[in-house]
């Protein structure tokens, strides 16, 4: 690494009078200017809008078998076609998207909530509590997620529905956020403004919520989006293996039926493409959201404001 390159890294980028604004409004402004974030947000918003508006055009029952003539390609009455069991695929996609997102959000929020709480408590307290948590999380992280999920799901197969899938996934989803947030808290704990808050006589809770948390919001946001993405992926994995809730028409279940009922062999291209396209939009959207949030949270990646 040449000294001139290192010099560029060490020199201040802009004078203080031009530096980007801090505070809550500054974060929102930065988000609005971030292309990744905005495109990702648009994609997800479109998807949700599609699902929400679509509900007015398709009934819940149409997403179940025998509500339409089976194996019909897309045309006038059934614009997305129907599957081999007679489900109106338009209804399936609309409700499936909502259900899959629901699982993702439940699992993501629950996982993040558990992980954040444990991380803050352990990292702020330090000492033996932190050591115990660190070792526990490191060990648990080595356990392959899908394996555990498959085991649990197959054991309770009878009583599985979208909510329980969400909870099962949350049981493992907390590990990575816990690890990430713990390291952030360990760093923040040494910040001078935290030391100043201690001198103010502030309680630990006050310091965690008022001093540290606001500075972690973008980071937590990014972690939430990642958690949701991973939960969606895990749920699709489970469902595609046939371990999902057999009655609820989630996107993953649709893929399971699609595979199991020989959509490929029967040439029912519409049944194959539709759920996959929706999933691609979902994942690209979530990915761009994460990238955008990551750039805000990590100032070194932040693009210069013009």
């Amino acid at each position: 690494m040449s000294a001139s390159a290192s010099a560029a890294a060490a020199a201040p980028a802009v004078p203080a009078s031009v530096a980007p604004r801090a505070g809550a409004r500054g974060v929102l402004r930065a988000l609005r200017r971030n292309p990744s974030f905005m495109v990702g947000l648009t994609l997800i918003a479109l998807l949700i809008a599609f699902a929400v508006i679509g509900r007015f055009f398709a009934g819940w029952n149409d997403a179940f078998p025998l509500s339409a003539p089976p194996s019909m390609p897309p045309d006038g009455d059934w614009i997305f076609g129907t599957d081999a069991d007679g489900r109106d695929l338009f209804a399936v996609i609309v409700y499936g998207t909502l259900l899959t997102l629901k699982i993702g959000v439940i699992a993501g929020c629950l996982g993040l909530g558990i992980g954040t709480t444990l991380a803050f408590v352990a990292a702020y307290h330090g000492g033996w509590l932190d050591a115990v948590m660190r070792i526990t999380v490191d060990v648990l992280l080595t356990i392959p997620t899908l394996l555990v999920l498959v085991v649990i799901a197959s054991v309770i197969h009878r009583s599985v529905n979208t909510t329980t899938i969400g909870i099962i996934i949350a049981l493992l989803a907390w590990r990575e956020p816990a690890r990430q947030i713990r390291s952030q808290v360990l760093v923040l704990r040494e910040a001078q403004y935290v030391k100043l808050a201690i001198l103010n006589g502030a309680s630990s809770l006050r310091i965690i919520f008022l001093e540290m948390m606001p500075n972690l919001l973008p980071f937590l946001g990014a972690n939430l989006v990642v958690a949701i993405s991973q939960a969606v992926l895990a749920s699709i994995g489970l469902e595609a293996l046939g371990l999902g809730a057999p009655s609820e028409p989630t996107l993953g279940q649709t893929i399971y039926w699609m595979m199991n009922e020989s959509a490929f062999m029967l040439g029912m291209w519409w049944w194959i493409i539709e759920p996959i396209v929706i999933l691609i939009i979902l994942f690209v959207g979530l990915f761009l959201l994460t990238t955008g949030l990551d750039e805000i949270a990590n100032p070194r990646l932040r693009r210069m404001e013009a």
């Binding site: 690494m1 001139s4 290192s6 560029a8 020199a11 004078p15 009078s17």
Partner: protein, 318 residues
């Protein structure tokens, strides 16, 4: 010979308008000469240095100016050519340089990569010998080559950075607050080695800082910057003993010395923000000697690069 800088202007484009971080700065540094550039944070000293190195980052832009050494205008060079000149012709030791050493490489590896980056195609043994020689020049033993940055003290790291800056024998060295994080003893060591190396290579040196005491002990000439403008320039003796600009006078008067205990002066008022520079002289709000003309007319520094000049309307009255 040496470096001749003329009418350097650097602006930053912001949503609120363009601000001039460096406003028509001109100065000369001869080979073997040390020029001090002194001013508060935000006065434009580092921006000037970065401009000369073509290291400004957006939204900063060099709008105007020439920086000529040996017939070459550094500011007019295309980026690829400028890369070749960096460290070879003109070298910059940044503030906090010791923190920019790569923590996972040994000192020798970092020095060697500098040499290799600049196309010094010598056998390994020759490079090794050269590194040892340069380290010795900054007063460090050869075994420092094997060390990692975290094994060295702040003063030693800073001296390694000085060594790296001098590795290719540049004609101009710009040292930006090279001792700001160091205690006085390490500071003295670093400055003495910097001075020795500079003399040995007969290089021109620009020392950027805010400590006039340090300048007094080290530089031959001193330039004072305020709000992006060069307000006074002259030999160190002239500027310290007969300052001609009110800001310089106030600055010198406010330096704490080991006498007159308890006398802590300061300059009343606040430096204007670069976004809201007053018309006329940037210093007039805080100047005890201001008069009518200072409020509208921006004073300019004499074009003659030698001699002792101040950008102040009082000189015409004097």
């Amino acid at each position: 010979m040496g470096l001749e800088v003329r009418d350097l202007i650097v602006t930053y484009r912001t949503p609120g308008g363009a601000i001039r971080a460096v406003d028509s700065v001109s100065f000369d540094v001869a080979q073997g000469e040390r020029l001090g550039l002194v001013g508060e944070s935000g006065s434009g000293k580092t921006t000037t240095a970065l401009a000369l190195m073509q290291m400004l980052r957006a939204p900063g832009r060099c709008e105007n100016g020439t920086a000529v050494i040996d017939g070459t205008d550094l500011l007019a060079l295309p980026p690829a050519q400028m890369r070749g000149h960096r460290l070879r012709t003109i070298s910059y030791i940044p503030q906090g340089a010791m923190n920019s050493l790569n923590p996972v490489h040994t000192v020798e590896r970092q020095m060697r990569s500098v040499l290799l980056d600049h196309g010094v195609a010598s056998p390994r043994a020759e490079l090794h010998r050269r590194c040892i020689a340069v380290l010795a020049g900054v007063g460090l033993a050869a075994d420092v080559l094997r060390r990692y940055p975290h094994e060295l003290s702040g003063g030693m790291k800073q001296r390694v950075c000085v060594a790296i800056g001098m590795l290719l024998g540049p004609k101009i060295i710009i040292a930006d607050e090279p001792t700001s994080a160091l205690d006085v003893i390490s500071q003295r060591l670093v400055m003495e080695t910097l001075g020795r190396e500079q003399q040995r290579n007969n290089a021109a040196l620009v020392l950027i800082g805010h400590d006039i005491g340090l300048m007094a002990q080290f530089v031959h000439r001193l330039a004072v910057m305020y709000a992006g403008r060069l307000v006074e320039i002259g030999t160190i003796r002239e500027v310290l003993t007969r300052p001609r600009h009110p800001y310089t006078r106030a600055l010198i008067a406010s330096i704490p010395r080991l006498r007159d205990r308890g006398m802590l002066g300061g300059i009343p008022g606040v430096t204007p923000s670069l976004r809201q520079l007053p018309p006329g002289c940037a210093f007039h709000h805080r100047c005890a000697a201001r008069f009518e003309r200072c409020l509208h007319d921006k004073p300019l520094l004499d074009a003659d690069p030698g001699g002792h000049h101040a950008a102040c309307h009082l000189r015409d009255a004097a």
